[in-house]
Subunit: 430 residues, 2 copies
């Protein structure tokens, strides 16, 4: 009467999904639009940085050889033959016993090999000539930022798939990218199913709840770097849902449905996959929450059948949909960022399946990461999702996980992510 | 000849700036536009969650009292008088020896006080009547999600100033916020100064560099939750820069300039503040990089005079401008997120001033945070900014900071931030 499904390991489920992950297209955007996107090509230094020898201070550029005899009781005097600010070049080659006043960032004048800071000189004027007096010797190269000292031309500064943070924006500007090739965002369709769902602006009715999953998933898609197209919410009616899925698929790269994947009387997604001719990759995963998460492939598209239960929906997205989106964006580390952390409180429940517990990451005074379950932890607890910034992994077949024990944790806010598998040991557990 | 400035402590500088921080206005946006913004009002549960007693499983709702005599060798039989899916309500009160077939999420029918999962029942039909047989007793409340079990009406679920992550989006939907009051983004003007600056699309010239600071700062502003208006880049010319600053101020909440704040021959910002009649809060901070960072107030506006040096510019923004932006967004923890971490490598330089070193945060297998300086660490090293996700704080007057010692670190990517002061001890150091 009730369909019996065979659960597969989380690691196996992720592998099956990732077999269908694909790289997306590239598009050009302006540098100001590039922030928060992902590089579609390696960022290579187009020239040395600095591109020329320059002064890192305000001072006088000169020839170190001229200072070799200088001492406190035997000062030497040089003539100041020019003055340049950053952005300017001194035209003539500087000769013996000459100096050029230079501001921070100015190109080192030809002939000079060191810079002396203002405070180590005394300035004077004699007979209309500007002079400086120096009381100690300087070495060649002293106070010079040499060409290529920071970065050599040709260095790969960031690989494709790198999230464009403010530092990357600065690099792109440095090397002249007024336009940048970024990964095109995958278009992800969202369909919510469930006769219990009210629209957000509808008043509460007995037996019904407002549709929170669709808005949560849309925000998760955007956080993961995708673009959303929302097709709306539908009652549990086979034909309505089938048509919504079929029409939705035609417009998107990947399609997410929420609800309808369990084995209840009104869970129509399994039948919809069948009528569509989609291949079900799995429909039961050895995890909590989200054990009924279903993923199917149809041509080169993936259909993510997430649970109607908010926590299960959340976890299913982060484990299975996020890496597909991030792969589309060329990120070679597309999975949730994996860390080890100390469990912040006892977790005593037995685990037939691996648990992904919503939690909060804190840091203690000794530099350790502490992860603590977010309060009430029934899988329908939408409120605990608000404070979640980490999923705590409690392996299957364990119990009495004690406060202070080292556990695996997955950071949901971290943009660059981790490679797969996070940790074979943990995710192979049953 | 060279102006002597008196450095103040970082903590003092932050305090002076924060005296001028102000709360911004509120605006209504649609729920889908709210993701990534900050709540302008506390989010309060408008009703209990769940709003009614409901079934967390597929099964049969019934009266526990009817099952009290049930045993394996003494099954009891109930009549199934209805079936409801999620979103529906069973109209009649369930009487003795009756049951209702319920799907996950369905409202518990009146009269029932527990739910029995399908797999613990046997179904049959007798004389046109649907029956179930049960072989064990159940308790009142068993398998029921009670009204208010997750959240009670009136609970504050998130305070104003909270970043709207996917979990908050779900909560907003749950409580019917099709529109959300969010903090209006402060409008931050950016002016780059420096005769050495080329536009991003200009070819390199001897002695010149492309303007990377403006694009970096614009990305930092957006990351911090502000909105950017870019006024362009200007050569080191007093009148040009003065007019740009004066006209810019009239259009923004806060104004950032890059360059021109040092004591070089072409550093005009000090004179500009004077002509404008702005009050300089400080022009020298006991920190590296960024010691010449200058902040001035003009009416109720702040002018952030950041260094033209990329690393100094970056750090100056994160320490002084970010908390002003985040306060405008109602965030009560507006400063960079502060953690303790282990230093990943020896840092042997002496520190006359507190250093904020660009670095990377990693995690070790024992749950500890490891922070490592990002390669080459001269203050002009724009390339190291690309991989920076943390600023490592090395206190003044220390040297030989050893690998493995516990240091303070500030997370630049973390949206919710920390209170001030991060840690009085560290930031009071000289």
């Amino acid at each position: 009467m009730v369909e019996r499904r065979q659960p597969i390991l989380v690691s196996e489920a992720v592998s099956r999904v990732m077999n269908y992950a694909k790289l997306g297209e590239k598009e050009r955007v302006s540098l100001t639009e590039a922030a928060g996107r992902y590089l579609a090509e390696d960022l290579i230094a187009a020239h040395d940085v600095p591109a020329f020898d320059r002064s890192p201070y305000d001072g006088f550029a000169l020839r170190s050889v001229d200072t070799q005899g200088a001492r406190f009781d035997h000062p030497i005097t040089l003539e100041v033959v020019g003055a340049i600010g950053a952005g300017f070049v001194h035209k003539d080659t500087v000769e013996a016993m000459q100096a050029v006043r230079v501001m921070t960032g100015a190109a080192l004048p030809s002939g000079c090999d060191c810079v002396v800071k203002f405070e180590l000189t005394e300035e004077s004027v004699d007979n209309g000539k500007d002079l400086i007096t120096i009381k100690k010797p300087f070495e060649t190269g002293e106070n010079v930022s040499f060409q290529g000292e920071d970065t050599k031309k040709g260095t790969i500064l960031a690989k494709k798939g790198t999230y464009i943070n403010p530092g990357i924006s600065a690099l792109l500007a440095t090397f002249g990218y007024s336009e940048v090739k970024v990964a095109k965002k995958p278009l992800i369709g969202v369909i919510a199913t469930g006769s219990e769902l009210l629209e957000v602006d509808q008043p509460l009715e007995d037996g019904k709840i407002r549709n929170s999953n669709a808005y949560m998933i849309m925000a998760q898609i955007e956080r993961a770097g995708g673009e959303v197209i929302y097709f709306g919410q539908f009652s549990d009616d086979f034909d309505t849902c089938f048509n919504a899925v079929k029409e939705g698929l035609a417009q998107v790269d990947f399609l997410i449905t929420t609800g309808g994947v369990s084995v209840g009387d009104f869970d129509y997604l399994p039948a919809i996959y069948e009528k569509l001719g989609a291949t079900v990759l799995f429909n039961k995963v050895a995890m909590r929450p989200g054990s009924v998460t279903t993923v199917a492939s149809f041509n080169d598209q993936l259909l993510f059948g997430l649970s109607g239960n908010p926590s299960a929906c959340y976890v299913g997205f982060e484990l299975f949909t996020r890496p597909v989106i991030q792969t589309f964006l060329y990120n070679g580390t597309p999975h949730l960022k994996h860390i080890k952390a100390l469990l912040g409180e006892d977790f005593e429940k037995a685990n037939p399946f691996t648990r992904f517990i919503r939690g909060q990451l804190d840091y203690d005074v000794e530099g350790r990461c502490i992860v603590t379950p977010s309060g009430f932890n029934k899988s329908n607890a939408v409120t605990s999702l608000a404070e979640t910034n980490v999923l705590i992994v409690i392996p299957a077949k364990t119990k009495n996980n004690e406060r202070g024990s080292v556990v695996d944790a997955l950071l949901v806010e971290e943009v660059q992510g981790s490679e797969w598998p996070w940790d074979k040991v943990v995710l192979s557990y049953r």
